[in-house]
Symmetry: C2
Subunit: 306 residues, 2 copies
């Protein structure tokens, strides 16, 4: 059995795959976590913390038995996923377009993090996660809920995080999160053309493609100081892919506000849809933290017109 997360692997995708593979193995189905790419810096930081290597990168899964974690859309799966046997899905997003030929197991819940669900699967099976898996799941929950501050956060996420902190031997959850967030905020040496792709998701609305990346930072100032090179990278990205909109959210996870860098056929309309004020390529987005809850739904409603 293989367990794999979505493209552009984040903490939830990596931690979830490793923890779910451990659970399935303990339940008698030997399972291996794989990934569709290298983990992002925050996930890499968590892996280093427990001394684990990144999961093997695999993008061909035809004929394999697989569990998917943190998505239910073909678009975020390997290209040949329709030829795999999808045995299970763990997710906390809206239900996507994946269908299967056989009955499967879906654990989908409207909580802040897929790892919160994986932890509930351990509880249902009456199995205790290893210290390493607990550390990874804790990190994923803190990341996805921005330390319990995202609008996607639920009390179930906090209960899971607190139980996992005990198992991980983490006494100070705040300090653990801050260390993790500092690691992902260290983007000074990352080239601009990589930054504009960070955690990118591409949505299609009424035939128009919206590429929305998100950087979560303890301070957005160092990135804004590089505005010129980021603008150049954003324009190149939009043109190369014929996107309607290329948007990068710089989310300040200390103040819980975002700044958007945009290159779009309808930049002013995007800005007003998101309740922001635009100046040049910069949109001020006070109070915006969650792309899933605060950015995508208004864009969907505004641009999905026949």
């Amino acid at each position: 059995m293989l367990v794999l997360g979505h493209t552009n692997p984040d903490c939830d995708s990596i931690a979830g795959a490793i923890s779910l593979a451990e659970l399935l193995t303990k339940q008698g189905t030997p399972a291996t976590a794989i990934a569709q790419g290298e983990p992002n810096p925050e996930a890499k930081f968590l892996l280093d913390k427990i001394g684990f290597a990144a999961p093997e990168v695999r993008t061909e899964i035809a004929g394999e038995d697989v569990w998917l974690i943190d998505y239910s859309d073909w678009g975020q799966a390997p290209r040949d996923a329709k030829k795999a046997n999808i045995r299970g899905i763990v997710d906390h997003h809206k239900l996507g377009d994946i269908t299967t030929a056989e009955p499967l197991e879906c654990w989908i819940r409207p909580v802040g993090c897929s790892c919160t669900i994986v932890y509930s699967m351990y509880q249902a099976a009456n199995i205790t996660p290893s210290k390493e898996a607990a550390t990874l799941m804790l990190g994923a929950i803190l990341s996805d809920t921005v330390k319990f501050n995202s609008p996607t956060f639920t009390p179930v996420d906090r209960e899971a995080a607190e139980a996992l902190a005990l198992l991980a031997g983490v006494e100070d959850i705040d300090a653990f999160a801050d260390e993790q967030f500092a690691a992902k905020s260290d983007v000074a040496s990352v080239p601009a053309d990589e930054l504009v792709l960070r955690d990118q998701k591409v949505y299609e609305i009424n035939g128009k493609q919206f590429a929305i990346a998100q950087l979560e930072l303890t301070s957005v100032k160092p990135v804004l100081a590089r505005l010129d090179e980021l603008e150049t990278a954003l324009v190149a990205l939009k043109q190369a892919n014929n996107y309607h909109t290329a948007l990068v959210l710089l989310t300040d996870i200390t103040t819980l506000n975002s700044t958007g860098l945009i290159c779009s056929d309808e930049a002013a309309q995007v800005a007003s849809t998101l309740g922001g004020t635009i100046e040049g390529s910069v949109i001020d987005l006070p109070g915006v933290v969650s792309r899933k809850k605060q950015v995508m739904p208004p864009l969907q409603r505004e641009f999905d017109v026949a």
Copy 2:
């Protein structure tokens, strides 16, 4: 919150909707079971047993918050289901084509009955179902698993049924099932044109429509004695709907064999695909009990050719 099963409501659809509505209500979300039609005779028997009326029939749900039970396909939902807010899905079939705009709760497991899953939801919530709900869920599990004999049956179904029997005050599960099965086998007074529609599901394979009904009977002899009028009804059904195949499975739940009555553009090919021998419009199908596991997959493989 509304809870509703699929078209042609069977035991699982009715019992699941009522039991899940009770659970959601006990969890603080007032919920009402509805149905897309009158319950089938077996479901009606169970409702009579606990003194419950059939759920209100409703086929318009636009704008409503709903849970779906026992399906995840738009084709088995009300026509306006895309305009409803689907908050949850409980199912034990393959994953269908339903997608949602918002995160939801999916409890999908490869077990024999949706009510087995509803019972696990009660357990996860640490809530005890009422005697009435327990009776309905027990009946649904016995129906869907043909008293633990269907190839879709799993040990989890038996555990749930035994726990529910205790709550329902049912000492002899066998006798309970036999009474229920006798009720649904009493088809002497049912017109032939109704019988050929019993528990019908219509599948499309490569542009061809296969309408497959199933009657579960303690003996198939009384129905086979009416072969002439059933053949007439089957021919009329196929022609009126332009089906490639109209097939009625008469499943003997005592001997665990089926007899198929068929009217098809390719009757011999259908018969051989199912491993059966054909004589006139009658196919002998030894050992066939489950449409989902033993009939649809081979037809899909045989007829889904480009």
